[in-house]
């Protein structure tokens, strides 16, 4: 399961960050870390990018970038 597969309103816990290099570093700097809770808020009107809340703020990222983030849905 990866972050791009979640529907708006779904919450999940980050299991693994598959990205490499600058992308990974940037995600970490923005607080996208293993163990962190993330909630998908919205999907852009044209289907991409998505908006999530993490660490109490709103972050947007492209689906391609979200695909590299493995998550486990929390119910």
């Amino acid at each position: 399961m990866n972050l791009a597969m979640l529907k708006p309103g779904e919450q999940a816990k980050i299991k693994k960050i598959g990205a490499l290099g600058p992308l990974k570093r940037r995600l970490m700097d923005m607080g996208v870390l293993v163990g962190e809770k993330v909630k998908v808020e919205k999907i852009a009107p044209l289907g991409d990018p998505i908006e999530v809340t993490i660490k109490n703020y709103n972050l947007s990222l492209r689906k391609k970038e979200a695909e590299g983030i493995e998550v486990e849905v929390e119910r």
Binding site: L23, R25, M30, K42, P49, S60
Partner: protein, 754 residues
């Protein structure tokens, strides 16, 4: 506004007074670097402290803006340096490298760390990295009012105890807390040893490894220990930071680093970088948990409510388009009357005064021409752009400051990404339809250099307002029955080619540079008018000084091209005409291989609407002279002054009428001057004999595509700090224009349309 200014405890006059009263102020300069996350209110804070003394430039060699200010505060000279807004000090973006290199190499006396109190945890992540540097830090808990409104309660004493630095609540939009902040800065600067932050404990494992690396450096590379903050260097070497490894270039033994991290890797996995990021965030989270109490129930915030509408699946795009339409209309409608007014004043009274003055001292006629057509017209050329640049900066700053810019990018990114651009590229591209010059400056909203350069390369394909008169002239002569369709086809051609070129550049010039769209959607905030104006003024001033000098120089150069050799009578014999003759054969396959058309195109490099004027002069030379004779009946000085005043009043009025008409309350119609009409009709007659409909269409397609005007060239140089991007734009556009016009003309002929 007034009440706020009264509350302002930094009065500009106070600073000036102390400058005079304290001769010893020369003795000591305190360098204060201001760091912070984007959207933390950092630039508002700097504006509040430094006001109009801010000096805007670029960091050497890059397009990132650098703001500095030097002023006196309580007898001490303070040099304030604004670091780029960053989320981290990791060396992966230009901004981060700049901020980090500055802090390491220049070693400022104090760092002000501007923290968004409403988003404490994430902001403290940067704070942790700043504290690692061993430079005294003063934390500004900014946007404190909003945090309080949310019901947040801070234990600042605890923050100060835990970090060993001062934490001062501030509200930079209201000038609150800034005096306390500056006092803390002065105190920290007065005794830096005393105020060096406590070293952070990232846990047993990391710290013991760092200790091993530290001793290794001290023993093997003692010079490095003096150049860098030691603990920080140890962390970086453990992380395997490529930037710093390259910089220090460990010549000899480096195995002590591997030995130190071996245990760490066994216990925590091979990715030390992630481990460090986790540790910093854990510290930040711990601190936020202890020092900040949040209310139990969270109310639905305004930002959420607005976003439900603005980012709605169905309404998102219509709202975005409406907002863009408004920005476009306001930028150009508001500024146009002022630009027109400046244009009229320069070309009317100012030229007449220049002529009269030189006539009075019996100066030779060529100096009159140089002054009026070269210098005064050149100054006019710069000034005409000022209203539109100011208006554009104002609205762009508003979009950014309010938080809508990030939403616009979010809504548009899918579409723009398809051609290799970023969601934020849409706005510069859109502004390009009005004028390419502000559009180039608007690319500064793009943080990534790749996105920014690509956007700037494609902006000139957006058909700007200056090209319209050329289209209109030819469409009127050859395509009167299908005018709308032909005009529309040109705009579509430009957009289609931008899509194609975007794809091409994505795969060639920018190959291997991964695009990223990891962007914060900050809370909506109302930017203060004062800040908007300061920001707009900074940018406008920068344009006037930096770009203005270039524009003036080029405009004088062009005067020489048109008027040399001395005593030239026919345009054909001027350098411009000769250039036209030389390059004309290149246009032969395109259907307009004559020197008149070629010279007009050369003059179009100044501004594309000049193509029409030059054609008028070249094709209708006699008529043009007659028109000039009429102008000789010049009004008196008093009449001129009156005229300047009344026409300015009209410009102000028109500007507001325009803005209101944007909302559909009124409308004004464009008025064409009688004289122009007359001249135009003669020109039209000549053109109808010189061009065929096919070659005419090839010609206007060429005008659409060939190099942007020289002001765009200067804007590109100015914005990017190098001629490189303009060089690429020039080369590809020339080639593109030639090929497209060739295809149109030869293709049309093959189809039997010629």
């Amino acid at each position: 506004m007034r009440a706020e200014t009264d509350d302002l405890r930094f009065k500009i006059s106070d600073f000036k007074k102390s400058e005079i009263a304290n001769p010893q102020s020369e003795i000591r300069t305190i360098t204060v670097a201001v760091a912070g996350n984007p959207n933390s209110g950092k630039s508002t804070l700097i504006n509040a402290i430094a006001g109009t003394r801010l000096n805007v430039g670029n960091w050497p060699g890059v397009t990132v803006e650098k703001k500095t200010a030097i002023f006196d505060y309580e007898g001490v000279k303070i040099k304030l340096v604004d670091l780029p807004g960053t989320y981290s000090l990791s060396p992966y973006s230009q901004e981060e490298i700049i901020a980090r290199d500055y802090l390491i190499q220049e070693k400022p006396d104090v760092i002000i760390d501007v923290v968004d109190s409403t988003n404490l945890e994430r902001n403290l992540y940067l704070t942790m990295q700043l504290l690692e540097l061993g430079i005294p830090v003063v934390i500004a808990l900014n946007i404190y009012d909003e945090a309080e409104k949310k019901g947040f309660k801070f234990n600042t004493k605890l923050i100060e105890q835990m970090l060993g630095v001062k934490a001062i609540p501030t509200i930079s939009t209201k000038n609150k807390g800034l005096d306390v902040l500056m006092k803390a800065v002065m105190e920290a600067a007065s005794d830096t040893a005393q105020h060096t932050p406590k070293s952070i404990n990232y846990g047993e494992d990391i710290e013991s490894a760092a200790f091993v690396v530290e001793s290794g450096i001290r023993n093997l590379y003692p010079t490095l220990a003096n150049r860098y903050p030691l603990r920080w260097l140890a962390y970086k070497l453990m992380e395997g930071d490529e930037h710093i490894s390259k910089e220090i270039n460990l010549s000899g033994d480096g195995t002590f680093i591997e030995d130190a991290v071996r245990h760490l890797k066994l216990a925590h996995g091979s990715d030390i970088e992630s481990l460090m990021a986790d540790a910093r965030y854990a510290k930040a989270a711990g601190l936020a948990r202890e020092a900040l109490t949040k209310p139990d129930t969270r109310k639905i915030e305004l930002t959420e409510k607005i976003d439900r509408l603005v980012l709605n699946r169905f309404l998102g795009i219509p709202i975005f388009l409406a907002a863009m339409w408004l920005v476009f209309k306001l930028t150009f409608d508001f500024s146009k009357p002022f630009s027109d007014w400046i244009d009229e004043m320069i070309n009317g009274p100012f030229k007449r005064w220049g002529e009269a003055l030189l006539g009075f001292v019996n100066a030779p006629s060529w100096t009159v021409s140089l002054l009026t057509e070269g210098v005064i017209a050149g100054v006019g050329f710069v000034l005409v752009f000022v209203p539109v640049i100011f208006a554009m900066m104002f609205f762009i700053t508003f979009l950014e400051g309010s938080g809508y810019m990030a939403r616009a990018a979010f809504v548009m990114d899918r579409m723009m990404h398809a051609i290799g651009l970023h969601g934020k590229s849409f706005i510069p591209m859109l502004l390009g339809f009005g004028c390419n010059v502000p559009a180039i400056y608007a690319t500064r909203t793009l943080e990534n250099p790749r996105d920014k350069a690509l956007t700037a390369l494609l902006v000139p394909l957006m058909s700007c307002g200056a090209r319209l008169p050329v289209y209109v002239l030819f469409v009127g002569v050859f395509f009167a029955d299908h005018g709308g369709t032909v005009l529309w086809s040109l705009y579509v051609l430009g957009i289609a080619l931008a899509v194609v070129m975007g794809m091409v550049f994505k795969r060639t010039l920018f190959k291997g540079e991964p695009p990223m769209f990891i962007m914060e959607l900050p809370p909506y905030r109302m930017p203060s008018l004062k800040n908007l104006l300061i920001h707009t003024w900074e940018k406008g001033k920068h344009f006037l000084i930096k770009a203005g000098t270039y524009i003036l120089a080029v405009s004088i150069l062009i005067w020489f091209l048109l008027n040399l050799p001395w005593g030239v009578e026919h345009k054909k014999d001027s350098y411009l005409g000769r250039m036209g003759q030389v390059i004309a054969p290149a246009f032969e396959p395109l259907g307009f291989g004559n020197w008149e058309a070629a010279s007009s195109l050369v003059s179009g490099l100044i501004a594309k609407e000049i193509v029409v004027g030059t054609m008028g002069e070249i094709y209708v030379e006699k008529k043009g002279e007659g028109a000039e004779d009429e102008k000789k009946e010049s009004p008196t000085f008093i009449e001129d002054i009156k005229e300047i005043g009344t026409s300015f009043a009209t410009a102000v009025k028109d500007s507001f009428v325009n803005v209101f008409s944007t909302f559909g309350f009124a409308s004004i119609s464009a008025d064409e001057e009688e004289e122009d009409k007359e001249k135009g009709s003669t020109l039209k007659d000549v053109i109808s004999t010189q061009f065929t409909p096919l070659s005419a269409y090839a010609f206007i397609a060429f005008v659409l595509l060939y190099m942007p005007c020289f002001v765009v060239a200067i804007a590109m140089k100015h914005e990017f700090g190098t001629w490189k991007w303009f060089g690429i734009a020039f080369a590809y556009q020339m080639a593109l224009a030639w090929v497209v016009a060739l295809v149109i003309y030869q293709g049309g002929k093959a189809l039997g349309l010629g």
